[in-house]
């Protein structure tokens, strides 16, 4: 990766909390990683894996227990509040009291690290605010009160605020939580576009694995007790790193589709034949949900098992010892399977 320069790097980092005088609650130790300009990095991990602690430590909101973080070639702990506010911008999940401000005014707050004592905006500041609002795609709402925005629009306004701050590193804590599917996709696409076009390093934590796998330039997998695993999405998936992200036997990762699903506990088996991949996927999905284990193109003799043939979505044929039953919908098929039991 010669084209991208590391903006932030950490060596032998330990994160956690100091409790009382000498007590230390260490969550991770010996973490080493780097963040690059122009890349969208998604931090994935189960609840309690230390995602928020890691983000807070990187944003200098809490000190590391050991190790060093280097930001633009300087030790993070030596930077002043003002310097930090120009280098790292954050978007949090905190509730704000900005309902009585217009989007323009709220985004203008992002200029505070650059403005003087009374926070007056000069011509350049106003231009930066306008561009930030434009880039976040909420220019049509610039004069609307924050209180009148939808959750997705509010998140875009917060992203505009962080753009107005003009920081090379942007850290977002679960920016897509509480958003509907459309806003989730829009927000993630927006962040990816900003990372590329504005050459920023963007780090976000998310539970939205589907979007992360599609849009992240790099993934950080955080597992309790195992530290951080970093790499390009495809390398991690094909190396099997995502299979063990959640340390649970009953959760499996589907490498072909890039999603997690509950592992199937089947009582009965059935042989499935389908004319294409999509039909096969959804047929297996329906059967798994109804406690059938599926055998697809088995080698051994399966003449004793029932056999389902799906030629298209309305032509389903079930062959059992009792005879041949045709179905035209999955609804009818599931009814038929239930009757057999």
């Amino acid at each position: 990766m010669e084209s991208t320069t590391a903006i932030l790097s950490a060596q032998a980092l330990s994160i956690g909390y100091r409790t009382g005088h000498h007590g230390v609650k260490q969550i991770h130790h010996n973490l080493s990683f780097a963040l690059h300009r122009g890349e969208l990095t998604c931090l994935l991990g189960a609840n309690g894996s230390g995602k928020s602690t890691l983000l807070r430590t990187l944003a200098a909101a809490q000190p590391p227990l050991a190790g060093t973080i280097t930001l633009e070639g300087r030790d993070l702990s030596t930077l002043s509040e003002r310097e930090l506010s120009r280098l790292i911008g954050v978007v949090l999940t905190d509730k704000t009291q900005t309902g009585g401000l217009t989007v323009y005014e709220m985004v203008s707050l992002g200029r505070q690290p650059h403005t003087g004592f009374f926070g007056r905006l000069d011509r350049h500041d106003r231009q930066v605010v306008d561009e930030a609002i434009e880039a976040a795609g909420i220019a049509h709402k610039a004069d609307t009160y924050m209180a009148q925005l939808s959750d997705g629009e509010k998140q875009k306004a917060m992203i505009a605020k962080v753009l107005a701050q003009e920081c090379p590193l942007v850290i977002l804590d679960e920016p897509t939580a509480f958003l509907d599917a459309v806003s989730r996709i829009e927000t993630m696409t927006l962040l990816h576009r900003i990372a590329t076009t504005q050459h920023k390093a963007i780090l976000l934590s998310t539970h939205d694995i589907e979007q992360a796998l599609v849009l992240a330039d790099r993934l950080w997998l955080l597992r309790k007790g195992q530290g951080l695993c970093s790499g390009v999405t495809e390398d991690l998936i094909l190396n099997g790193d995502l299979d063990t992200l959640f340390d649970r036997r009953d959760i499996c990762f589907d490498r072909a589709h890039g999603s997690y699903y509950p592992s199937v506990q089947w009582e009965k088996e059935i042989v499935v034949e389908a004319s294409d991949e999509t039909l096969l996927h959804w047929t297996v999905n329906a059967l798994n949900r109804n406690s059938y284990g599926c055998r697809i193109a088995p080698d051994e003799d399966t003449s004793s098992l029932p056999r389902l043939t799906v030629s298209d979505a309305h032509t389903l044929t079930l062959r059992t010892a009792a005879g041949v039953q045709p179905f035209t919908t999955f609804d009818a098929l599931i009814e038929g399977l239930k009757k057999q039991d």
């Binding site: 309902g99 217009t102 009374f118």
Partner: protein
């Protein structure tokens, strides 16, 4: 898009408020228990001879200090209320709700009742006694504010914090009751009169001290406009914007304490101004941006107390009404309106 849409609205509103302020100042000088013609009042103010020497005395030694005291108290309490509402992220915070003026009262009660009424503000007071009363009020209000700030680190829920504030206020009141019980009749009397709230208690000699402490408080408040706006985003966002949260909070605490304490010491605990006026200002202005909200709140506070004072002196010959009989009548409907309409009011969300 470059200019927020309410900036012209703010200019018009500030102009209107200044006109109202001047009109109310004039009315406060004109009306009173003794009828003095407006032309005579004007002559006296311009330093010319008036028909009766006693009119001169009434206007310059009674009405003028009372008017200035009302103006300063209103501005101080309203701004203190606004700072508290932003600092606590709670639109229902205010000096009287959180028991800060009760704290100031306790300080005053300690000083007054311990000295057995000889320091009553209604009589002419020596400078030391007077400083003691202000110091008492300041220490009392800061102690209550500090207590509430301490609880705010334990209790994250703002409604719970308000309830803590109210409880602290009750405890402080009960200490005042105990002090009253053990005090002399004279002390209790002067404390009770003071406790009803009264702008006429401030004499011409005391006025510069009052003006100075309120002036300092308001000046620091104006210097805090930028971090106040950042605090609308919450502590963590504000810290990310380079705001020193600890310093800002401490300054807010000191300013609120100073403004509330000086007003309470000179004029008694005045309810509802600090709570209601910031809401009136926000509703009129249509923004929570402190760049315009703070000056408008300041002016609205002054206008409101001048209006209240005018209502108090209107009965004329039958005497002056206590100010705390008027402020809730004006303030409570505003708060009820705001609570009922909170879904429709932007700054609540």
């Amino acid at each position: 898009m470059n200019k927020p849409r309410h900036s012209s609205r703010a200019k018009r509103l500030i102009g209107l408020l200044i006109v109202l302020l001047v009109a109310l100042c004039a009315a406060n000088l004109w009306f009173g228990s003794v009828q003095i013609p407006a032309s005579a009042v004007w002559d006296i103010l311009c330093g010319r001879e008036s028909e009766k020497e006693v009119w001169r005395f009434i206007v310059l030694e009674s009405r003028l200090p009372q008017m200035v005291a009302a103006l300063l108290s209103g501005a101080a309490l309203a701004v203190a209320g606004l700072l508290l509402q932003t600092a606590f992220n709670n639109p229902l915070a205010g000096p009287s709700i959180l028991g800060i003026d009760t704290g100031a009262s306790l300080g005053v009660a300690l000083v007054m009742l311990l000295f057995g009424g000889s320091l009553g503000l209604t009589q002419s007071t020596t400078l030391t006694g007077f400083t003691a009363i202000i110091a008492g009020a300041f220490v009392g209000s800061i102690i209550v504010l500090g207590t509430i700030l301490f609880f705010s680190t334990l209790v994250k829920n703002n409604i719970m914090l308000l309830i803590v504030g109210i409880m602290v206020g009750y405890v402080t009141s009960s200490v005042i009751s105990l002090l009253n019980y053990f005090s002399t009749a004279e002390g209790v009397h002067s404390y009770t009169i003071w406790g009803m709230g009264n702008f006429s208690g401030v004499t011409g000699e005391q006025l510069p001290y009052f003006a100075l402490s309120v002036g300092v408080g308001l000046a620091i408040a104006i210097l805090l406009i930028k971090p106040l706006n950042a605090l609308l985003l919450g502590d963590r966002y504000a810290a990310n914007l380079g705001v020193n949260i600890k310093l800002t909070r401490n300054l807010l605490l000191i300013v609120t304490g100073l403004l509330t304490a000086s007003t309470t010491a000179f004029c008694g605990p005045i309810s509802f101004i600090g709570l209601a006026v910031p809401h009136i200002a926000r509703l009129l202005l249509g923004t929570s941006n402190h760049n315009t909200l703070l000056p408008v709140t300041l002016l609205c506070g002054a206008v409101t107390t001048l209006l209240c004072n005018l209502i108090c002196i209107l009965p004329g010959e039958s005497g002056i009404l206590p100010i705390n009989a008027i402020t809730p009548v004006l303030g409570a409907p505003v708060i009820i309106y705001v609570i009922i309409n909170q879904r429709k009011i932007q700054y609540f969300n």
